[in-house]
């Protein structure tokens, strides 16, 4: 198996400190092993895209990162610190990682503003007025200042996902985890969400993105990880993965998506 070395000099963030490190991560659901020993890094300021066929374990790996799924073997480190297994320790780690879900998962009984402010208020103990100020600034950042008082049901899918991004950013995370953020969207609203993500990337946010948006992965990511059947089959800079994939399975997967290089 030809897998680019983790320390390939072609990696833009070569030498940068890893924010998240995965070492031999194993995850089972019952008798099914969905992650068969995954090792990789996400480095500071990097956008890493996780791609691969459905069922390859991408989302599971992402969900293991902030402990929504417990791993059965190996280890995951945030800034060199092992992900704790106790509830309190895990919560302290989670506030340093923002997560965006495929189905947005905004709180339907709260306005857009409250959705963004609730984390800082309840988890960080920030005063309501400060949290709302922060929330307004973030809503402006995702282009939704006028929707602050709207409830999620009054927003389009793309708008909801942008609020969800603002909600995650409100915790001022060190890394943002995106779990297929555009898969549940109407085609016409995919672009607005990707634009917000692209801007985040340009600002230097460290991002780990599970996606089927190949154009986004090609243009915005610094590093692409290809997974299949619970393992990493290839990783490298996007140019290499998309223009000259080393592994046949990668070629098959990309051609199946209609990617012509």
């Amino acid at each position: 198996m030809t897998t680019s070395s983790e320390n390939s000099p072609s990696r833009k963030a070569a030498g940068a400190t890893p924010v998240v490190t995965y070492r031999d991560v194993i995850k089972r659901f019952g008798n099914v092993t969905v992650l068969t020993g995954v090792s990789m890094e996400v480095r500071k300021g990097e956008v890493v895209c996780l791609i691969g066929p459905s069922g390859s374990g991408k989302s599971t790996l992402l969900r293991c990162t902030n402990g929504l799924e417990r791993i059965d073997g190996g280890e995951i480190l945030l800034d060199g610190q092992l992900l704790p297994s106790d509830g309190k320790g895990l919560r302290l780690m989670r506030r340093r990682m923002g997560m965006v879900f495929q189905n947005f998962e905004l709180f339907p009984h709260k306005t857009a503003l409250d959705n963004v402010a609730v984390g800082p208020i309840t988890v960080l103990g920030i005063s309501r007025s400060d949290a709302e100020k922060r929330a307004m600034a973030l809503l402006a950042k995702v282009g939704l200042s006028e929707k602050a008082e709207n409830y999620p049901s009054q927003l389009s899918g793309g708008q909801q996902q942008r609020v969800a991004i603002a909600r995650a950013l409100a915790m001022e995370p060190e890394i943002m985890l995106f779990d297929e953020p555009t898969s549940a969207l109407d085609p016409e609203t995919v672009g607005e969400v990707l634009a917000v993500m692209k801007r985040l990337a340009e600002e230097g946010m460290t991002m780990l993105v599970v996606t089927h948006e190949m154009t986004f992965a090609r243009r915005v990511s610094d590093w692409v990880v290809v997974m299949d059947k619970g393992a990493i089959i290839e990783q490298g800079p996007p140019k290499q993965i998309y223009d000259a994939p080393q592994v046949n399975r990668t070629k098959e997967f990309l051609s199946h998506l209609g990617w012509s290089g």
């Binding site: 302290l92 189905n103 709180f107 609730v118 988890v123 915790m171």
Partner: protein, 219 residues
């Protein structure tokens, strides 16, 4: 046969006191049984086996024996077993609360279970504790979702308060029984009693219909 329809009017003060007590019993019972139901639901869903077993036993016991039996047992058995004696009013309130808490427990359990897992995950991902997740994210949505069911329970409760008349709690039914015994005007008093329950209950039923219409729709 001559009817004396004014018998109810002449005993108005007795009826009014009865109505007041009926309303008090219904309100007080629900005030206890809503948190009670939430506690039972949380216990049953806690994953802690002992707590779940206690809650399940409680719910299945009090849902499946007739309320009137609970009232009798609270009145005759509870003081003997516990050594404490309570007034009929408090005893009636306890019995009603046991029954309605059991129903509410199942109502809240269904409501909480209907909130999809992604909502809790979103809260956890922000760093919320299980308690914060429950209180801030899950419970408000669950309550909103079961509001129509709680409203129906309320309507049943309002009428079921009449059962505590068997232990001499002076609510509307008991008051009516007393007037009947004093005047021997059975038909008139029963009619008056029915009219009062209906006048009190009908707007509530309409309100429930409105709540169902307003909140009962799927998300």
């Amino acid at each position: 046969m001559k009817f004396d329809w004014l018998v109810a009017w002449r005993n108005l003060d007795v009826f009014v006191d009865g109505v007041k007590l009926t309303i008090f019993l219904a309100v007080a019972t629900m005030t206890i049984a809503v948190p009670g139901g939430i506690v039972l639901a949380v216990m049953r869903m806690s994953g802690i086996r002992a707590l779940a077993a206690i809650a399940t036993a409680f719910i299945e016991l009090f849902r499946n024996i007739p309320l009137i039996l609970v009232i009798y047992m609270a009145y005759y058995v509870l003081p003997v077993m516990s050594g404490l004696s309570a007034s009929p009013l408090v005893t009636g309130l306890i019995a009603l609360s046991l029954n309605v808490s059991a129903y509410n427990g199942e109502t809240f359990r269904a409501g909480i279970a209907s909130i999809r897992k992604g909502q809790s995950e979103a809260a956890y991902a922000l760093g919320m504790s299980p308690w914060q997740t429950f209180r801030i994210v899950v419970l408000p949505q669950a309550v909103k979702r079961v509001l129509p069911v709680l409203a129906s329970t309320w309507i049943s409760l309002f009428k079921d308060t009449s059962l505590v008349s068997v232990i001499s709690v002076g609510e509307l039914s008991y008051a009516a029984t007393r007037v009947r015994a004093q005047t021997f005007r059975v038909l008139e008093v029963l009619t008056a009693m029915a009219a009062i329950y209906w006048v009190l209950g009908y707007p509530q039923a309409k309100l429930v219909d409105w709540i169902n219409h307003r909140w009962g729709r799927a998300e």
